[in-house]
Symmetry: C2
Subunit: 551 residues, 2 copies
């Protein structure tokens, strides 16, 4: 606890200095704002550590707080959240996706042996008699379990799932690492002709990120078979391929020298082999790189590499048809952590303000970060891992053809009874929320959708306000009024301002007697008391509708 | 296990007989269908008990199933579910509601002492070091905890929350009683002038149920203070008021004689007192009943009763203004289980096919049902309890002014530091799903939203299909194509039929060469190969848009 506080205080000091400097340099708002958000979040976490006020009740004393690593999402948070979900969902549905919901907990056995050493982060339910259960750790394993159970009906499936997952990790709000957080997954399951669903997944990813309005982004792209082929032709022993791959995966945050050291000193690779790998993994480009690799006779003689290159050639054609090639970077240093990928892999990064990936422990202390990194490795990371992907990385995924088979049981030959190949992507929505929250002031966020406030002047007119509201509701107009018998005019106006309610229907006794109402645009700066236009009450709904259509 | 199977077999036999009889009588579809659904559900549960196939993998043997009392929601379930949620959410938003999300687990202390003897149904998380946590049991207690923590910012709040809650109860699929299920809550928190938010909650409930299209319904309405006043003037000792109230609550499923017996034999009430209560609780009506009670000098001399009657007089005025009085039944037998209600209480029931409430254990064995009922009582039931509300009851709620204070700590006088009165309603969405699922065949439910299928005739034309799909996506048209290099025409047509895709864009080599495409309405019964209208490719988007607008 105290350690973390110290870390936070150091981080706050350093981050505050950074923000001050950026401001002094006259840096662009889009650069300063995200940094300011990080600063605010650090402050929040520190406050939360100090907080959790002890509350005494007659019966018992308890701490009034949410559980560690969880938080409430208030109305403003939820308004942003819903906007993000609806933007993403709209794209998913445009591509024919259905949604499927699985329980928040699974039998413990279902999750066992799927997450490597990160299995220690799984939340178990208490033994209260009955089955052993655990909270889901991601959405991919439950999806694979669903396919294994219902595979006959769902040989072909485009499904999305937006839901919370659970990890007993050390929370760090600055990195959006919570113990309860959202994942937003889209997967295509089924046997199809090569690379067609893979291309559509990438198209979906590009559409979603474009529509989310989070600035420019690039999708880094690689193929596991090409990578494995490279390791093979460079001379990496078979059982060292995954560890070496995991070292390569750190190239986006560590210099080559450090990665090489990990390969040679820690993982015992021959230095010449490491140098050969170094030549390959620094390559990046587009179709030009594919052409270059395809002319590499050593590489193309390798079965894995040659299959991967054939896949990539097809994929480039399909990406051209989908007009997304321009957003891709074919990047030989992308390795992705998860063991279960079998084909293409990808990771989207935002272009602006992309500091080094921060993956463990410390917030700003990079040396510590590196050290812990080495200890934990990247095995067991899931498809898009909120807890280990740092600022900049916004979505990730790949092809995994063998996961469903792990649940289907095996035949006498040891082959899975059911093989449903899958390709999927996971969008890091927590990171998207942070970016979007940074773009606006909390007070500017409209969290309800009320369009019209029914206001009385002078008299109470409660029943009349109720009848007017009822008429508006009957006509599908979003309306509210003050729950007071005799509301003050300035208080009613204040509600409109606070809740960003654009229109008001204003009534007084005289107007009611004459069958009139006043309609006022609350965004205008008329004198509070006056303003607005008097119309026949019978015209009210039509007038409001036409005004609302203009908003 | 075997007991339950036997129960199910008995229930299936009896229900099958009922369905046969209804059919033989030529009963209306709206009567037969819900009964058939119950039958199907019984069969499903039986199959599930028999099911859960053991799967052996190389490493270990495990059961491939979801945890007890939980289930996957497939694409068809989710399509109905989303329709229900969006209908309800639309009504909530029309009334100015925001949404707030709380974590799925809370500190154990937060939930302690809130659910009476049903606390045994709370799921605890395993002790893996750190805080003791439990899965939420309802959405009301977390909401009260949120208000207690953030009360200063949220003195006035209309919030809804649709989310899953968890109870380690004996599952019974026929009654929609699962261990993981949805609640759908709307609450208004804050201090306002009397009965105004209460009236709006009732209006919201009526709007939501009307829009859900589940048939006719009535809202039973009562007031805790009137009920308590009646018990007081009849002579119920103070500490027996809640137990007697809980007996009265069973009048909707037990005859008066049984309830009286519970009051006298079990709960030691004087028989004359019970008879006096009997006179009151058989009363139901509308404003006429309010007038009648208001002329009852004995009753109006009681403080509680007189306050309750004054509330109801106001409420009837407001319900008139909101035009919902016609949907209400002022019903003195409605008592509601939860202890924490302090004002009006209500329960919506569907009018069609409303068999007796079934609340525990057995599915059809009523005697057993009654026996178990007596044993468990109704204390601790939550606001709208999926697990204890039977067929017919569809929503419930009431005013609870003291729950938030339980979390805020007390001052020296023992009064809560923070008092935020609340009134709320919970819609039993699981029951709504059942009703709506019963209305349609699974095959008729369109679970994706695809509008246009891009089809090729004869040649592969894969890249051309991709380019067409891309053009449609760019124009926000929901489009798919077959992930095959050389798809067969009949297979492509079959997808349109299975997925209810209304339109197709059909291309052949000749058409492509001429810059033409064919648009076909897939719902028409043209000869499969032919049909459709040839148009310029440049007209494709505009033509599809106008056709989609007509759908």
């Amino acid at each position: 606890m105290t350690d973390r506080k110290e870390e936070l205080n150091v981080a706050i000091e350093s981050q505050a200095a950074k923000v001050r400097q950026l401001k002094a340099e006259g840096a662009d708002k889009s650069i300063v704002d995200p940094e300011a958000v990080i600063l605010r979040t650090l402050h929040q976490e520190l406050a939360a550590l100090d907080g959790g006020k002890k509350t005494k009740t007659a019966k018992n004393s308890f701490t009034l707080k949410t559980a560690k690593g969880t938080k409430d999402y208030n109305d403003k948070d939820m308004a942003i959240r819903e906007k993000v979900f609806s933007t993403i969902t709209k794209v998913f549905k445009k591509h024919g996706a259905v949604t499927i919901d699985t329980p928040v907990f699974e039998l413990k056995d279902i999750l066992s042996g799927k997450y490597g050493e990160d299995s220690k982060l799984i939340y178990d339910l208490a033994d209260q008699g009955g089955e052993e259960c655990s909270l889901r750790y991601d959405l991919t394993v439950p999806f694979a379990r669903f396919l294994a159970m219902n595979g006959k009906e769902y040989q072909n499936l485009k499904r999305y799932h937006i839901a919370k997952v659970y990890r007993r990790d050390q929370p760090a709000m600055t990195k959006g690492r919570m113990r309860e957080f959202y994942q937003c997954d889209f997967d295509i399951a089924g046997t199809y002709d090569p690379m067609i669903p893979d291309a559509e997944i990438l198209r979906i990813l590009c559409e979603a990120l474009t529509n989310l309005d989070i600035g420019k982004f690039t999708v880094k792209l690689n193929h596991r078979k090409i990578l494995d082929g490279i390791f093979e032709v460079c001379g990496v022993p078979h059982d060292n391929i995954r560890p070496i791959s995991s070292a390569v995966d750190k190239l986006d945050k560590l210099p080559w020298e450090d990665v090489k050291k990990e390969m040679t000193v820690e993982k015992g690779l021959d230095e010449q082999v490491a140098d050969k790998i170094g030549e390959y993994v620094k390559l990046k480009g587009g179709r030009d790189l594919l052409d270059k690799l395809s002319q590499d006779k050593v590489l193309t003689a390798n079965k894995n590499a040659s299959e991967g290159l054939a896949d990539m050639a097809l994929l480039f054609d399909f990406m051209d048809a989908f007009d997304i090639t321009k957003l891709m970077s074919f990047d030989m240093s992308l390795a992705r952590g998860l063991d279960y990928y079998t084909g293409i892999i990808y990771e989207a990064v935002t272009e602006k303000s992309a500091p080094p990936k921060m993956t463990d422990g410390a917030v700003v202390d990079d040396s510590k970060n590196k050290k812990k990194k080495k200890a934990s490795g990247k095995d067991g990371e899931e498809e898009f891992d909120e807890s280990t992907v740092g600022v900049g990385s916004i979505a990730a995924g790949g092809r995994y053809d063998n996961l469903v088979g792990m649940f289907s049981g095996t035949n006498k030959k040891g082959e899975p009874n059911l093989k449903i190949p899958c390709v999927g992507v996971s969008i890091g929505v927590e990171r998207v929320f942070s970016i979007l929250m940074a773009k606006q002031q909390s007070a500017d966020i409209k969290s309800n959708e009320t369009q019209v406030y029914v206001i009385s002047v002078g008299d109470s007119l409660l029943k009349e306000r109720m009848e007017l509201a009822k008429e508006l509701w009957d006509n599908d107009i979003k309306a509210s009024f003050m729950f007071k018998t005799k509301p003050k005019l300035d208080k009613q106006f204040a509600v409109c301002e606070k809740e960003h309610i654009p229109l008001a229907v204003i009534i007084g006794r005289d107007e009611m007697d004459q069958g009139m109402v006043r309609i006022k645009d609350m965004r205008s700066k008329d004198a509070a008391q006056g303003g607005g236009v008097s119309i026949q009450r019978t015209e009210m709904v039509a007038t409001l509708r036409s005004k609302l259509a203009e908003l």
